[in-house]
């Protein structure tokens, strides 16, 4: 009983590959997701620059909000995991990670944008590469290259013959799986979240207005409600993914700074 010309719009991977808008075929090709990414970057930079434009000793309004956000990363991630001194050293990296990821995730629930900028693999990949470089740099700087790789690949307290088994596992886990999981966890969560929202909202639209069957309308309403519930859930996931990515980066840096695990 479908209305003529109406067909259910299934969410698919195609969602994440919109047509190019500018500079097609060049390394600077811009499509809708790139535009969203740039917009969120500009908004994020503008917010913090305005919040701390003329910082007052007694913070007011938007400065309060900015300081609250910055303090979350500074105290709960950097100083908690790395301690005061190293926390301060890696604070710019961790702050950048947290807020860039969060802002890029948030575009997934902002009306009209409706697309997390981290659902395309590029941004998670670049962030994971930077995290990878950062914890290896921290380890080599703190322990020296030889000692750093030795303590990672040949963990102390293991019988020598077992290194045949342990060393490849340690190598894979530290130098391959870590950045891979950072990247894929973020991208897959955002991609799946977007798919879920698209599914509920497009189903609601189809069932209520396009199916042409009044009996299906209440089902559409339920779908709409579920869409709203999942939007709220998505807000939580977006924050959590930014937090997890940043926290794991801090944990990897901390592990690399200290020889013994």
């Amino acid at each position: 009983m479908l209305a003529e010309g109406a067909e259910f719009h299934k969410p698919s991977i195609e969602e994440f590959f919109p047509p190019a808008l500018l500079f097609e075929g060049t390394p600077f090709e811009v499509d809708r997701i790139m535009l969203i990414r740039i917009l969120m970057t500009v908004l994020l930079a503008a917010f913090f620059l305005i919040a701390l434009r003329r910082p007052k000793l007694v913070p007011r309004g938007v400065q309060n909000l900015g300081e609250l956000a910055l303090d979350f990363v500074r105290v709960n991630i950097a100083e908690d995991v790395l301690g005061k001194q190293n926390g301060r050293r890696f604070l710019p990296l961790l702050t950048t990670f947290f807020f860039l990821i969060w802002a890029a995730n948030l575009s997934g629930v902002i009306p009209l944008l409706n697309m997390p900028a981290t659902a395309r693999i590029g941004l998670p990949l670049v962030l994971a590469v930077v995290a990878y470089l950062a914890f290896n740099y921290a380890g080599i700087k703190a322990q020296g290259a030889g000692q750093y790789f030795k303590s990672n690949l040949f963990p102390p307290g293991v019988p020598k013959p077992l290194y045949i088994l342990v060393t490849p596992i340690e190598f894979a886990s530290t130098f391959i799986i870590r950045p891979g999981t950072l990247m894929i966890r973020l991208m897959a969560n955002m991609l799946a979240g977007h798919m879920t929202l698209v599914l509920f909202f497009s189903a609601a639209w189809f069932l209520m207005f396009q199916a042409g069957n009044f009996l299906l309308a209440p089902v559409g309403a339920v779908s709409l409600l579920m869409g709203l519930v999942f939007t709220i859930f998505e807000l939580l996931v977006q924050f959590l993914q930014a937090y997890i990515f940043t926290l794991l980066t801090a944990v990897y840096i901390d592990g690399a700074l200290h020889a013994e695990h």
Partner: protein, 181 residues
């Protein structure tokens, strides 16, 4: 819309990045990294440091002010005690001086009254002597007159010698004097 989806050949993998995807990711990361590293975090650290300094400085200033107030209070108390002692000393002095003045005045008054009494006594003595001298002269003359009238004129020559009369008066004096004194 449906046509577009159906028209798409081979679905792209979500795990394979396009070059422009990486380029724009790097650009966004660089912008945010620069903003936080060079602008926002230095401002934030500065305001945090200022706030810490302000709080610690405020505590130090309050302590200094309290110490100053304590010092002033002690000074004031010391001055008050000094002033009290000074007042007590002045009062004692004044009392002693007043006593001295009273004593002096009393002495003067006594001396004066003694002098006045002495002067009065002296005048009385002088008047008495004068009166006695006058009375003696009158009494002699009256006694001779009376005796002459009693024994006649023959006694007048004798009486001229005066010695008799004087001797009589002296005797009179001698008997009367203890009575007057």
């Amino acid at each position: 819309m449906t046509g577009l989806i159906l028209a798409a050949e081979g679905t792209p993998s979500p795990l394979v990045p396009a070059v422009y995807d990486i380029v724009w990711s790097a650009v966004c990361l660089a912008i945010i990294g620069f903003v936080f590293w060079k602008k926002v975090l230095p401002l934030f650290q500065k305001v945090l440091a200022e706030r810490t300094e302000k709080i610690e400085g405020g505590i130090a200033r309050a302590e200094a002010a309290q110490a100053e107030a304590q010092r002033t209070l002690e000074q004031y108390r010391e001055q008050l005690a000094e002033a009290r002692a000074e007042a007590a000393r002045i009062r004692d002095d004044a009392r002693a001086e007043g006593q001295q003045i009273i004593d002096e005045m009393r002495e003067q008054a006594q001396a004066e009254s003694a002098r006045i009494v002495a002067q009065g006594q002296h005048q009385l003595d002088a008047q008495r002597a004068q009166i006695v001298a006058e009375l003696r002269a009158d009494l002699g003359r009256v006694a001779v007159e009376l005796a002459g009238k009693v024994v006649g004129e023959s006694l007048e020559d004798e009486a001229r010698r005066r010695g008799t009369v004087d001797r009589f008066l002296d005797e009179l004096d001698a008997t009367a004097a203890p009575a007057t004194k």
